[in-house]
Symmetry: C2
Subunit: 221 residues, 2 copies
DNA sequence: GTCTATATCGGGATAGAC
DNA sequence: GTCTATCCCGATATAGAC
């Protein structure tokens, strides 16, 4: 983060460290994206200022604008990065697995994500709640396709009598809603219970409780 | 909305219509609060402008500021109004009821609210996700107390063996999360399923699916 | 209560030196 | 790539007439 080289005061530059410079630039971009996630996820696109983000990332406002031409550009870049993390865990629900195991693993994975990447979850939530102006395409395309694939897996399990009948979309939404609730509504959960997912016992209880709830709904517990 | 009286051009005013004027003022305030809910719930506090809100409410920017001294003041007023609607449905879970009936009614009520007052749900969501800076006190006080009361009801039912054992807080959070999901994440639900709660069949399927899921988790189905 | 200016300011974005 | 200085616009809020 800090401690960049003094920036060779000498003249005959462009010798060897060219390659390292490029990597520094990448790191800088990463730092900005990290800072953007933090600030955007608590203040929203309009509530956040470039100043805040640049300060947190350890550079100047103008310098940030060298890496990202506008605030909106940065915001979209942050969102895209979040979306990848977001779409990934669904893979856990694969047709080859034992239904109960697969569901249990998926739920644990989602709650773990709520614990370890709550800001990503919140930023995503903010965007969707506001109508997903910048994400509609991604939602209707890639996300929809992946969900349909997993819904098909669930339908297969139902048809084979391996789990009880339940609308696959509803089931997926329920898992999302419950697991993400502990990240997105953490302020409320904390106000009511006084605890959060950082507390290992609370984390484990949340995982197991959610697993039990979902499995029961498909007759596996 | 439109068509206010011409505004007595005469001089000897303040005769009879004084009382009606006060009621007009109240209506005006209501209209502003309504407009504020609409705009704030999609743009957020910082994304919304007084111009947009005043236009939607059918008056001028300056005029709006006559009724609410600042944007923040209006925002808080809107939020307070939402909170009341929000806290109300919990009453449905009363100790005297049959557990299955009470849970079913509560769930239907919540989904109905997601259908009829999605903007209120979204504004509340935005606020909580951002850490509830203006609501922390209300959450830790009134909301917490009401939730504790209802958690006690659930514990009573469990102790009496009328429903299966499940952490009361988890159960309440699950119901909130699932039912509000259809309002807060409507954009996502629509992108994936192509439907929303305005569709009567989808509404009914959502109510019944959620009832089934929750009841199953406490061994009542 | 409602309107027409207008003061004021934060903050996004650009120019250009280094 | 990074800095200083600056432009500029949108938006909140106020002043004061009607």
């Amino acid at each position: 983060m800090a401690g960049n080289g003094a920036g060779d005061t000498g003249g005959s530059a462009t010798t060897a460290p060219v390659r390292r410079r490029r990597r520094d630039g990448e790191l800088r971009r990463e730092a900005i994206l990290d800072a953007g996630l933090e600030v955007f996820s608590t203040l929203g696109l309009h509530g956040a200022s470039i100043d805040q983000i640049s300060e947190r990332a350890g550079l100047s406002k103008t310098n940030l604008l060298y890496y990202f031409p506008s605030k909106e550009d940065l915001y979209v870049a942050v969102l895209r990065r979040v979306l990848d993390v977001w779409l990934d865990p669904l893979q856990t629900l694969s047709a080859g697995s034992e239904p109960a195991d697969a569901l249990r693993r998926y739920i644990r994975r989602k709650v773990t994500l709520s614990r370890d990447a709550p800001q990503a979850s919140r930023l995503f939530c903010l965007e969707i709640v506001q109508g997903a102006p910048l994400l509609r395409a991604e939602l209707a395309g890639p996300l929809r396709d992946r969900v349909e694939a997993k819904a098909a897996v669930l339908r297969g399990w139902i048809a084979a009598g391996r789990i009880g009948a339940h609308d696959p979309h509803q089931l997926i939404f329920a898992i999302w809603a419950i697991t993400q609730h502990y990240a997105d509504f953490a302020a409320q959960v904390e106000a009511i219970t006084g605890r959060n997912l950082q507390d290992p016992a609370f984390f484990e209880a949340t995982v197991e409780g959610t697993q039990k709830l979902i499995l029961a709904s498909v007759g596996l517990a």
